[in-house]
Amino acid sequence: MKLNTNSNVYTICYAAVMVIIVAFLLAFVASALKKTQEANVANDTKGQILSALGYDKAAIDVGAVYAEKVQDNVFADGELKPFEGNFNTTYGSLIKNGELHVFTATTAQGEPAYVIPVVGRGLWGGLWGYIAVSETKDKVLGTYFYHESETAGLGARISEKWFQDQFIGKPIFGTDGEVALTVVKAGAAQAENEVDGVTGATLTSNGVAAMVKDGLTAYKEFLGGAGCTAKDMFERIEEQFEQIEEEFESTIEESEQTDVEQ
């Protein structure tokens, strides 16, 4: 008997059977590999944290070094408490919900440091990173950035060492007590809190700048900020008021001048 491969019944049955087989196959592969994949992801995340601390993650046993050097904490009610749950591999939603993880660790050079996870958006997809800050919470000791789908050779270069190493030693806060660490156009970095962006990847560089600013601002209570006491705040607000007044006066003067001219 020869099957009529053009009949409707055959076509529909063929499609149905094919879809069922493929669905089972994919479900089987996905569930069989899930554990290995999750272990890989957790290990990779630990490697990224260690990388921000200056370790070469390709050259060390990530699991062992992480267990020895890094402690996962949660910052709540003004103090750090050791984190008890399972190791997290994504921090975006946690930060949004106010669960602020801070890793206490020692860098590859033996300095004590805090590692702060940050998340943001690049040109095509998500960005994330880990920023190691000094014990005094005012300067960067190291960074690690990675991305979901930035363009290879352009935006993807934020994951390269030369870009990340530029942040080392940079102060986090400006004189106004706000996060001032930022990424500017490639080759334009001059101020001590500016870092060169990636050529040809302005939007990704801007994404990193926004991620660093927002990420560190979310941890402002933990980091403290330069002179962030109530008194300093008052002084700063007063200064801003004065500035606004001056601007206001000068605009009035200008408008009066134009009135006279008219």
Binding site: Y14, A30, V41, N43, G153
Partner: protein, 209 residues
């Protein structure tokens, strides 16, 4: 053995490498030539992934070719390719995590590579599994070759490096040489592909198009 490597089978393998190159002659798969070629390494890995997937989807479709209902053949081909790509990307994630991170979305995008659909429709639907396998390997390598040529020039002139290592000596920079930022831009890959096609056609003059 002689049958396995008959002239016809040999042609299935060698044609796409030169006179019937999928990128240079058929002008397929241009979009990925643009996306992954700004550096040499992703270009090579992408070329190899496409080679493997084209070969195996060709074999599967060739085995199924007599049972596939004509009206839904494109859908069947697409399902086979998509399933294969998904399995490969899952395996990469489980066993060579670093490579999968490096390729990121581009593994998934292999599904939409028109070279695959083109070969399945034009070759695997009419030929047996072994010639189809050779045809898949040949086309994949033909594609990889162009990607590597483009990646080579873009990385060399765009960054002054190859595989991430500096190859342009410092005294050249001291003498005023600069990396060409244009090379890094996606548009430049199309211009280089254009140059490759030009050179290819000048070399294969007998080709009438």
């Amino acid at each position: 053995m002689s049958k396995l490597f008959s002239d016809e089978n040999k042609a299935a393998f060698t044609n796409p490498l030169n006179v019937n190159n999928p990128v240079a002659v058929q002008v397929l798969g241009i979009c990925s030539a643009l996306a992954v070629t700004s550096q040499l390494k992703p270009a090579i890995v992408m070329g190899l992934s496409v080679t493997v997937i084209t070969a195996f989807s060709n074999v599967i479709i060739s085995l199924l070719r007599k049972t596939i209902p004509n009206r839904i053949r494109i859908i069947v081909q697409l399902v086979v390719v998509a399933a294969l790509v998904t399995i490969v990307s899952q395996l990469l994630k489980a066993y060579v995590y670093d490579v999968s991170v490096q390729l990121s979305v581009y593994v998934g995008l292999i599904i939409t590579n028109c070279i695959l659909m083109g070969r399945l429709e034009a070759f695997a639907m009419q030929n047996g599994p072994w010639p189809s396998f050779l045809d898949g390997i040949g086309n994949g390598l033909g594609y990889a070759a162009i990607l590597i040529i483009v990646g080579f020039f873009r990385e060399l002139f765009g960054f002054g490096t190859l595989f991430g290592y500096n190859v342009i000596p410092q005294f050249m920079y001291d003498a005023g040489y600069q990396n060409n930022g244009m090379m890094v831009m996606p548009a430049m890959s199309l211009i280089i592909v254009g140059c490759v096609i030009w050179a290819h056609r000048a070399y294969n003059k007998e080709e009438v198009k």
